[in-house]
């Protein structure tokens, strides 16, 4: 047993190693190398931090970077605030058949592509859209209102797209909470607020954290929603990466942007884990 692991072990391990090497490690190493070179002549490159300096010296890049981070954090918080009661209802209050039905209802929007889903919001929010017409019909506004192409529209799109990824881990952790713990909380004199704060939230913490990580990463890396629902002033960082790679054909700067996004998400997730006193093993395990 100790002299060497069997062939089977290596065969089983091979797909994971291949996946890690081909799809994660090699592209990132290459991307890192690309991001650290500077074109000095035709076909001539030199090692330099120039791309990162460009990023740091251009206010538009920095502002977009910060905006994307703040908006993603905000989207995560809003998703959590909306998702928690939904998950609590599905996990604890819904009885019998209602539970799976509600769960499927959360899933239904994902049966169509993200593009179609986002178009759905455009139909609702645009100047000639349903909400605008309704407001006019009710006499609340005098002319058509444009609800698209602003940060609020992006936020709606992001929260809507991410909801399922928040609700699923929350439902899972909340349904593992024994009802008698909640009852014991009330029995010992707890109010709804204190039972929520001291019993429900600490129990659901792993689900909250894993849901938040997933939603945050999805929002940060989202491309379609900000493009379609956002306006001229609501640039998303992924749009910058796209334009460097595809429009400007400046792979070096694009790669540097990619790395900045990776650092950003790592830093924020790490900070959030530290602040909530959770560890990655605990939330993912």
């Amino acid at each position: 047993m100790t002299s060497g692991r069997s062939l089977g072990f290596y065969l089983l391990l091979a797909p994971v190693l291949l996946w890690l090497a081909l799809l994660v490690i090699i592209p990132h190493v290459d991307l890192a190398l690309v991001s650290l070179r500077e074109r000095v002549g035709v076909g001539q490159y030199a090692l330099s931090p120039a791309n990162y300096l460009t990023f740091l010296n251009e206010p538009l890049y920095l502002v977009t970077f910060a905006r994307t981070a703040v908006m993603s954090i905000l989207a995560t918080i809003i998703t959590l605030i909306i998702g928690f009661p939904v998950a609590y209802y599905i996990a604890k209050m819904a009885r019998g058949k209602l539970q799976p039905i509600l769960f499927v209802l959360c899933l239904v929007p994902f049966w169509v592509s993200e593009l179609v889903r986002t178009f759905g919001w455009m139909i609702l929010l645009r100047e000639t859209g349903i909400i605008s017409s309704l407001l006019q019909w009710l006499g609340l506004v005098s002319g058509p209102v444009e609800l698209l192409y602003n940060d609020a529209a992006i936020m709606i799109g992001l929260v809507y797209t991410s909801m399922l990824f928040m609700v699923v881990p929350l439902v899972t952790t909340l349904s593992s909470l024994d009802d008698s713990l909640i009852e014991a909380g009330y029995d010992l004199g707890g109010s709804s607020a204190s039972v929520f704060r001291e019993i429900i939230v600490p129990h659901a913490m792993p689900g909250i954290v894993s849901g938040c990580i997933v939603v945050f990463m999805l929002s940060l890396g989202n491309y379609l929603t900000p493009i379609m629902l956002g306006g001229k002033d609501s640039l998303w960082f992924t749009e910058l990466i796209y334009s460097q790679f595809i429009v400007r054909f400046n792979w070096e700067l694009g790669a540097a942007f990619g790395f900045m996004l990776l650092f950003l998400s790592t830093a924020i997730v790490w900070t959030a884990l530290k602040l909530s006193g959770q560890s990655l093993e605990k939330t993912m395990g």
């Binding site: 024994d178 009852e183 009330y186 010992l188 004199g189």
Partner: protein, 367 residues
């Protein structure tokens, strides 16, 4: 008379058409240990949840120290509950678990610490406040769950089969411990269980419950020796149940003829049963005297001879199954552990008898 700590008046709970608790009334005097004993599904948990405030009665009243608590939410009632699986909060350490209710009352930090330490001393587990719930053994968790309620000094402590999850040895130990904790805290305990031995050992008074109603409320000895209904006679303790017909009856004394033709003398709760009525006779195996010669049991009201069919060894509760010679019915007889019947074997001739006071007769209705 002193106001009872807890009284339920005409308590009824319906779930749709099903009646879970059917017009139950009882009083629990201050400082006593009251048990509700019944098979699962008899409605005992429903009663407890109504007292705790998690369910609203369909009709009737619940009073604690003379005050109706019907419109009081569970977190404001002067009762606390030890849950079936204890429901200790795994997200807190032991001290925070015990201090939870005190924090809700808005006590100062130092005062909470002092009270928690006192409570831990009282349950004999000083210094475990910093430990996590899953580091404790089953018996320790049990005591912490009780301490968590007792620091709040409730008027009534409700216990919902808290010993169910423990193994046999620990359960025996906890029975005695619970009783002494009740003495130490001097609080009224209402205990529900389906385990008759838990109820018999600990309780001052026991209500036997069946199908939503109380069959009998009495002390442990009365329940055991003087059951008032056939259900109680069958549920509390073991019994040989023999069907028969009333031959004659005067006052509480009855003579019956069993379906095998044996005549048995017994006592009934109802006076002067009509001859010919169908009845059941309950005789406890441990109430039957076993003898090697007929003379030893001849002076008893009922005596029979028979052959040992089988011995059922179970330590102190060992039994022999004896087939009566004359009629052929099989009776379970307690095997004394005095050493006199060591080596008793199937096929051996034995004699046995019991007094008429030991056979409880109940009408089964019909002729």
């Amino acid at each position: 008379m002193e106001t009872p700590d807890l009284s339920c008046i005409d308590l009824t709970k319906r779930f749709g058409d099903a009646v879970a608790v059917d017009n139950v009334s009882f009083e629990v005097p201050a400082g006593s240990f009251f048990s509700i004993l019944g098979p699962s599904g008899c409605g005992k948990t429903t009663i407890m949840r109504m007292i705790a405030g998690f369910l609203e009665p369909t009709s009737g009243d619940i009073q604690i120290k003379g005050q109706s608590v019907l419109n009081v939410p569970p977190n404001k009632r002067p009762v606390n509950m030890v849950f079936q699986h204890l429901a200790l909060f795994p997200m807190m350490n032991i001290a925070d678990n015990i201090g939870y209710g005190l924090r809700r009352q808005g006590l100062g930090k130092l005062e909470i610490e002092k009270k928690v330490d006192e409570a831990l001393d009282r349950i004999g587990l000083p210094g475990i406040g910093k430990r996590q719930v899953n580091e404790l053994s089953g018996g320790q968790k049990q005591r912490v769950a009780i301490a968590r309620c007792m620091v709040l000094e409730p008027d009534v402590l409700l216990l919902d089969e808290p010993l169910g999850a423990l193994d046999l040895k620990l359960r025996e130990q906890m029975k005695i411990e619970l009783k002494s904790l009740q003495h130490a805290f001097d609080t009224t305990f209402v205990y529900i269980t389906h385990d008759q031995s838990e109820a018999l050992v600990m309780s001052d008074s026991i209500a036997v419950m069946n199908a939503g109603q109380f069959e009998q409320v009495a002390g442990p000895e009365d329940l055991y020796y003087r059951p008032e209904t056939a259900f109680v006679a069958g549920f509390v303790g073991d019994a040989n149940i023999v069907k028969g017909q009333v031959v004659r009856s005067s006052g509480h004394d009855v003579e019956l003829r069993t379906e095998y033709g044996t005549h048995i003398k017994g006592v009934s709760k109802t006076r002067d049963m009509a001859a010919g009525r169908a009845a059941e006779i309950f005789v406890r195996p441990e109430a039957i005297r076993l003898a090697k010669s007929a003379d030893e049991v001849a002076e008893l009201d009922n005596f029979l001879s028979g052959k040992v069919e089988q011995t059922l060894f179970n330590g102190a509760a060992s039994r022999v199954l004896v087939k009566a010679d004359t009629s052929g019915e099989t009776i379970e007889v307690g095997l004394p552990q005095s050493g006199r019947f060591d080596g008793i074997r199937p096929g051996q001739e034995v004699h046995f008898g019991w007094s008429d006071k030991q056979s409880n007769v109940f009408e089964t209705g019909g002729l």
